[in-house]
Amino acid sequence: MFEAAVYVTLKKGILDPEGKAIKNSLKSQGYDQVEEVTTGKYFLLKIKERDRTAAEEELRQICEKFLVNMVLEDYSFELREVDR
């Protein structure tokens, strides 16, 4: 069994109005040191698979076909073996 943490972020150059709004709010709360905020999504998947390469391949497919909008978003993941 593998556990995959998937992070989805906006591609460079795509406006992130939500991140900008959060940054502005932080500024108004006095956190002037914050230079930039970007938002994204986080998914945790458990994959019933014994082979790491197979799990990785399946995860890539899931990301590119469904979880991620490849026009706007990038993704990365961490895959680790778990007992259950």
Binding site: P17, E18, F66, L67, N69, V71, L72
Partner: protein
């Protein structure tokens, strides 16, 4: 000709169904998301709303249903597909239309009338409008900020695939008339063949006198005209 309206959970399919059934008086059937056969349909409508609660991304879950695979084949064979609001978002997620939707630049849900310039009146959906005509439709969306990369944009423009653009009452396409931040004020696009149209504004919500605006009805009548059927007795037009 026969229409079908897909009833995704969370979508407002009933208003499209009503316009076709009651206002233009044409045969129309509901289609379920699990449907695997699309025999006998000529035009399929993907309605507005919030299919599957807009989970993951607006339109993403609907785009992965069995019926969408059928609709892709149907479109490939030249069948007419109309995606309104959420239906447009679904078409982008399936790749039947290029590009993607971002959250509105203002981060606000925009719900009001907009002016649109008809940029292509030669499609099956817009032949009742004049090229360059300024019309008024309502919008209601939080995620209608259309994006496509510069290469894709050049292709859209070159092929005449931009069908509607947000404009002011005078027909000027200016940033102040853009409610959501879409590139080049794009409000609606079609595929290269012209048989698949997606638009964010809602023609079905301005198709009846009681709503104070009937300009949307002509989009549905365009489909009938394109199909070679003339307006039947009792059908209301705004001309």
């Amino acid at each position: 000709m026969k229409f079908g309206v897909v009833f995704f959970p969370g979508a407002n399919a009933a208003d499209c169904f009503y316009v076709i059934d009651q206002l233009i008086g044409h045969p129309v059937s509901p289609i379920q998301p699990e449907e695997r056969e699309l025999d006998g349909f000529d035009c399929i409508v993907l309605p507005g709303g919030f299919s599957y609660g807009d989970y993951l991304r607006a339109g993403a879950l609907a785009a992965a249903t069995p019926v969408i695979e059928q609709i892709a084949d149907f479109a490939e064979q030249g069948g007419l597909v109309l995606g309104i609001g959420n239906g447009f978002q679904i078409l982008l997620n399936t790749g039947l239309l290029p590009g993607a939707m971002r959250k509105n630049e203002s981060l606000r849900f925009r719900c009001h009338d907009v002016f649109l310039r008809v940029e292509n009146s030669r499609t099956p959906f817009t032949n009742r409008y004049h090229q360059g005509e300024v019309i008024k439709y309502p919008i209601a969306h939080g995620e209608g900020n259309y994006y496509i990369d510069s290469e894709g944009l050049a292709q859209l423009e070159q092929n005449g695939q931009v069908v509607f653009r947000y404009c002011n009452e005078q027909g000027e396409v200016i940033p102040a008339a853009n409610p959501d931040g879409s590139v080049r004020n794009i409000a609606g696009i079609c595929n290269v063949k012209g048989n698949v149209l997606g638009l964010m504004p809602h023609p079905e919500r301005c198709s009846e006198e009681i709503l104070g605006n009937t300009q949307g009805l002509r989009l549905f009548l365009s489909v009938l005209d394109w199909w070679g059927i003339h307006t039947q007795e009792g059908v209301m037009t705004d001309e």
